[in-house]
Amino acid sequence: MANVVIDIAAEYTGNKAFKQAETATSKLEKSVAKLGKQLAGVFAASKLYAFGKESVKAFAADEKAARSLALALANTGNAFAAIEVEKFIGDLQRVTGVLDDQLRPAFRTLLTATGNVKKSQDGLALALDIAAGTGRDLGAVSLALAKAYGGQTTALSRLGAGLSKATLASGDLDLITAELTKKFSGQALAAAEGYAGSMAKLAVASENAKEIIGKDLLDSMQLIAGKDGIGGATTAMEGFATEVGNAIYGVGFLISKLRELPGGADLLQGTKEALSFNIFGLFSRVGASSKARAAGTPAQSPGQRKAIDKANADALKLQKSKNELAKIDNANTTRKLALTADQQALEELKKKFDVERIGLFAALNQTTDQETQMRLRSLIAIKDNDAALAGKIKAELEATRAVDFLSSALFRLSAEFDMERARIAFGKAEVAAKAATMITGATPSQSLATALKLYPDFGTEMDAPRTAAARGTNIVYNINASGIGDQQIASVVQNAIQDLNRYGNSTTYAGAI
């Protein structure tokens, strides 16, 4: 078809081929993304598993070192100082950024050599300074120091600490430590203050976190493994890591879907906060309280305990206040009841001296008419503010009126019925006679049928006079006065004349005298 067009304001919307290509690319992208997600899920699970393994290993090593140290303390007769030594090592670890995994063996070596906790602590501090100053391993330094305590200074000379041969040859440990302290004092602290020290502290924190998580993991494995103990927990641990990995992947998938939604960024942030504050927070609280229960310690922190105690005290105080208020309320109700009874007695007395009421009762006693009695009783009820009695009397009155109305209606109906019956009888005869005159030769029944058709309305007995009047003929009224005396007729006429005069109607024509 011929179609020459000028396009105005064209827009590129893409053609079919491009759309197909786009669809294909989109499908490919989706497939790749799906595969990527699956791989990410697998790697996430394996990473988590590896981390769990490392954590457990770290805890196990830490615990082994702690046990070894505790045993060394016990063997040297310093078992009482176990807690103090652990605290010292912990503090040293935080300050210097050196792991307790290194501190404990070093301390143990020194303790074995000296047999004295105080000397070992000083030796460890010195060893830390020397290690920081010379860049040697803490284990090697502490071993050298331990040997020096035993009289062998060769190892110490090889540390590169710059000790003079004379000092070393003297074998005086006090002199040697004094020189070493002079040379390396504050090296460990200085090393802990710089960037490397911060990193070391972070590493310490990370290792500690691993140990803590490892311990909890093992405890949780024990919980999961149940009676079989930790021996059967390996499989459970792998399963646990996989489950946690799946859960993390699920959260990641949810986050990616949330991001696709309009306003997804805000929603995502909100969800993250909700998750971190609610779910993880909840798990954390559950774990903490479970551990506390297992350890037989209170489930709350001192702050929480204080807050709970305060809340309990406040609740108790509030309950006491409520009880007091209830007591006051009860007392008020009792007083109110007493006052109401007194008021009623007074009202009864007042009624006895009410003149109007007395009069009403007197009238009631004297009246025999039922309706009047009812009215009087109503007045008394109104006077006494007795709403129930007034309502009852009102209902009785209305019932009486209704009965009266019904009886009068029935009476009127009966009378009208009798009258109508008489009119019908008379009308029928009249109609029959009229019909007979109209239809010559008809039987009375035929005449009646015809008349009924002609005069369907009964009670048309006056039709004949009306018809006659319409024709203009004179109407003759025949009065049957049989049985009436002349005196009675005269009396009627006289009364009629008197009535006419009373109402101003003349009995004579105009102008008559």
Partner: protein, 171 residues
């Protein structure tokens, strides 16, 4: 080459869905811009450019001035995408067969000689415009309009977009 816009089709869809009155007003505004061009193009239709073209018979489309005039019109709704994927938001069209021949006769069509049927084309007068946009009816009127209609159409679409955004409160 027509002026290109972005989001015009989406805007039309949005107008139809969320602000139909504004959409109708926009269409009316565009129509009021295109009407004079169409009217002028119809004015270029003569009785018959060639005396025997108006005769009935044969396969060649017969030139009927009223049919040619009726075939010239405008469209204010988006067209289908062309082979290159472009959709026109408005068009001026010459749809009758004889009108299209009269419009384009003498243009150098691809794979044809430069002056095919020179006598036929020369008898109809000179083509107006440049390049592929040369013609004797709508292209001539378009050429005479000097792009004012395009500007007005673009302005109408732009105004509609602004009004719509103000209505929905996105700006």
């Amino acid at each position: 080459m027509p002026a290109t816009v972005k989001g015009g089709v989406e805007l039309r869809k949005a107008l139809r869905r969320f602000a139909p009155e504004l959409g109708k007003e926009t269409q009316k505004e565009i129509a009021s811009v295109l009407k004079p061009v169409v009217k002028e193009a119809r004015g270029f239709v003569t009785v018959s450019p060639l005396s025997n073209w108006a005769r009935e018979g044969g396969k060649f489309p017969v030139f009927n001035a009223s049919i040619v005039k009726r075939g010239i019109g405008y469209k204010t709704t988006p067209s289908k995408p062309n082979r290159r994927g472009f959709t026109a938001l408005a068009q001026i069209r010459n749809r009758s067969a004889a009108g299209a021949i009269y419009e384009t006769a003498g243009r150098r069509a691809p794979s044809t000689k430069p002056s095919s049927r020179p006598n036929f084309a020369q008898a109809m007068g000179e083509l107006s415009g440049s390049g592929k946009e040369r013609g004797r009816l709508i292209y001539k009127a378009w050429e005479n309009d000097k792009g004012n209609a395009t500007k007005a159409v673009l302005k109408a679409i732009d105004n509609a977009g602004k009004t719509f955004n103000r209505m929905v409160g996105t700006r």
